[in-house]
Amino acid sequence: MDQEVKDKELEIASIVEVAIQKHGATQDAVIPILSEINRALGYVPAAALPEIRRHINFSEKGVFLADSHLYSAVSFYEMLSLQPLGRHVIRFCESAPCHVMGGRQVIQALQDELGLKPGETSKDMHWSLLMTSCVGVCGVGPVFFVDDDLYGNVTPERVPEILAKYQ
């Protein structure tokens, strides 16, 4: 095993440990732990799953946790990813309120500007264009997130200017 792979595994192990320390080694902490790892690395690598399972021992309580349980959880939730995403992740709200207020034109502008379809990540790993359900800021629709920054009342004309901030 070369050094780089080893380093990566060590990094994952320590991130898992920190997450478990923060949220506790209990069954109800599984989703928060996975979210914490996703925040730190941008995704949940498969190698993290056995690591989590080793730390959380439910057997005394009669609960057995398998890697497949964790995998099925990660694959279920929209905010968790099994694949590495781009450095900047765009999440566009595709729900009805934003759509009615002009969202259709905005997502088109985003696709044209990035050359990506929804769900794709650019080859240089700079952008990911994801769709999300309503994020609860409908008062200022249409909206999208770039990473943790929210943009509201977006028009197609504003799209290039917003994206330029993340070059």
């Binding site: 996703n38 349980h69 099925s72 759509h99 009615v100 359900s133 943790d148």
Partner: protein
């Protein structure tokens, strides 16, 4: 507390503005101040009254008196005679025969007061949500103190039952009854869960309640825990609401430091602990059994019911699951009594309801009004009229799983019963206002896409039904469907409502069915004439830059 007894609306459309509506509005404010009535009378504006002559128009609730045209020099008389003394000024009233339908309806609302009344949002925006001292100064923790030191658990439940409070998450189940179910289930370990996984498109009331008044939820959950005999609670906050999570986390720490949460609350024997919990992005987790599965660290898939969470909930224990807005009603009920609460709203649907107004109106946002206000009042008074003067086509009520109310239903009072009779659901309180430029096929497509994406995949009718409905609707929008496809959709829709495992599948096609009920001709035009009357769908638009939303 301010008790608003009257409301003055001044028309502010363009014609009115030309005739000095702004001055009239400000003169009203000044005169009302002069008479010392500011605490009793609300003054607001209204757009789009439908008349262009004899404006500005002034409407006074609850008498539903319409004055027009009102000049600055008339204001003093109206305030003195009508608002101060209570006598309508006959010679300033608008001529009834000149009233166009757009305003004639107001007379039928005599006795109504469509003014905001804040119970749930009383402190939001007023107190510092990070300060427990500020919360306590504004009556905070009074209800909990009263419950723990002066009331037995059964008395707390009785008071909530008597108030008539119904769940505000969408289903409208009587809250007190739910509490008594959990209380009467035997068991040493019980849980209280606050459902803050607010994911219904167009709804953000729970976010604003938590962000603006987090301590009220802590207080309400502790009261609920005391009433049902639980010592642990969870607040499940959706992952997309990081600020709400931080506010709750902070509020829990402060409440524990003050002895208002944790062991021996208020020096009594009662102990209660609350754990904040962040979701990870799944609409279905708003369904209570899916939420419980998710809390247990699994995929958020709904369980088969019965058994209901009230008997078999989190980790198999009896569990009370209440929505944020429902819980926020509890402290004011205990503080002021069930009788006070029943006086607000309509007799069968008590209290207030928080609505979010969205879409093609001039003003979008959140209001809290007594049950029974009409859609027209919401749009005209709080939405400040339709954007760009367009005509109202439909309102989707209650989010994507909610119903479609055509413009013809806009004068139906909005409470659980009247709406149910009209076939409309109040749901989560989202009001998505759509104007004449909205194509119903395009709207249905967006809604069906949402459910296709959010279906958890557990049961067959929903998993296959949401996909098929979206596919057929896409074909309609492309002009590639036949009329028999509409029957096919109805068949799928019926099967989904009848045999889906949970509310998602059961309600996913509600909007579709309403669209076929009220706007069938427009849908059929796509199929038979290959024409999108509004000009939105791909069949109508042959330019390559407007490809359909995926």
């Amino acid at each position: 507390m301010k008790v608003i007894r009257s409301m003055v609306l001044v028309s502010m459309d363009e014609a009115s503005l030309e005739h000095g509506a702004e001055d009239v509005f400000h003169t009203f404010l000044e005169e009302i101040e002069e008479f010392g009535l500011s605490d009793q009378i609300a003054v607001s504006t209204i757009r789009d009254v439908g008349v262009r002559e004899d404006v500005p128009l002034v409407i006074v609730y609850p008498d539903a008196a319409v004055y027009a045209p009102v000049k600055v020099e008339d204001v003093h008389l109206i305030v003195e005679e009508h608002l101060h003394k209570g006598n309508i000024v006959p010679n300033l009233l608008a001529m009834m025969h000149e009233l166009v339908p757009e305003i004639a309806w107001m007379r039928s609302r005599r006795g109504a007061l469509p003014v905001q009344k804040r119970i749930v949002l009383e402190r939001a925006g007023v107190v510092d949500p990070r300060s427990i001292e500020d919360y306590i100064l504004h009556d905070g923790f009074q209800a909990l103190g009263k419950a723990l030191t002066k009331m037995k658990p059964a008395e707390v439940i009785a008071e909530v039952e008597k108030s008539g409070l119904q769940g505000r998450g969408g289903a409208g189940f009587p809250t007190g009854r739910k509490w008594s179910f959990v209380a009467s289930t035997p068991g040493d370990t019980k849980y209280v869960i606050c459902n803050a996984d607010e994911s219904e498109p167009g709804t953000f009331k729970d976010r604003l309640i938590i962000e603006g008044d987090p301590f009220s939820i802590i207080e309400a959950m502790t009261i609920a825990g005391y009433a049902i005999g639980a010592h642990e609670g969870y607040i499940y906050i959706r992952g997309e609401y990081p600020l709400a999570y931080r506010r709750i986390e902070h509020a829990i720490q402060q409440a524990e430091a003050y002895g208002l949460l944790g062991d021996h609350i208020f020096g009594t024997d009662y102990s209660f602990h609350i754990h904040p919990h962040a979701g990870a992005g799944a609409y279905i987790c708003g369904e209570e059994t899916a939420l419980i599965e998710s809390l247990e660290g699994k995929r958020g898939m709904p369980r088969a019911r019965p058994p209901y969470p009230t008997t078999y909930g989190l980790f198999g224990k009896p569990t009370l699951v209440n929505n944020v807005e429902t819980l926020a009603n509890v402290p004011p009920i205990l503080r002021n009594g069930a009788v006070w609460y029943r006086e607000v709203g309509s007799p069968k649907s008590t209290g207030t309801k928080v609505y979010t107004i969205l879409g093609n109106v001039n003003f979008t946002g959140l209001i809290e009004v007594p049950m029974g206000i009409t859609l027209r009042e919401v749009i005209d008074i709080y939405g400040k009229g339709m954007k760009n003067g367009k005509k109202l086509k439909l309102v989707q009520t209650g989010g994507s799983s909610g119903t479609i109310a055509p413009a013809s239903l806009q004068d139906t009072p909005m409470d659980f019963d009247s709406f149910r009779n009209a076939g409309v659901s109040l749901g989560s309180g989202a009001l998505l206002v759509c104007d004449e430029d909205t194509c119903v096929v395009d709207l249905a497509k967006v809604i069906l896409l949402f459910f296709r994406n959010e279906c958890c995949g557990k049961c067959t009718p929903c998993r296959i039904g949401t996909l098929r409905l979206y596919e057929i609707m896409t074909q309609i929008s492309e002009g590639k469907a036949s009329l028999s496809d509409l029957d096919e959709m109805m068949k799928i829709s019926e099967a989904m409502s009848e045999v889906s495992n949970c509310g998602l599948g059961q309600t996913a096609s509600t909007a579709l069915r309403d669209i076929l009920k009220y706007f069938r001709a427009e849908v059929e035009a796509h199929i038979t004439d290959h024409n999108c009357p509004v000009g939105v769908c791909p069949i109508a638009v042959h330019s390559p830059e407007l490809v359909p939303v995926p």
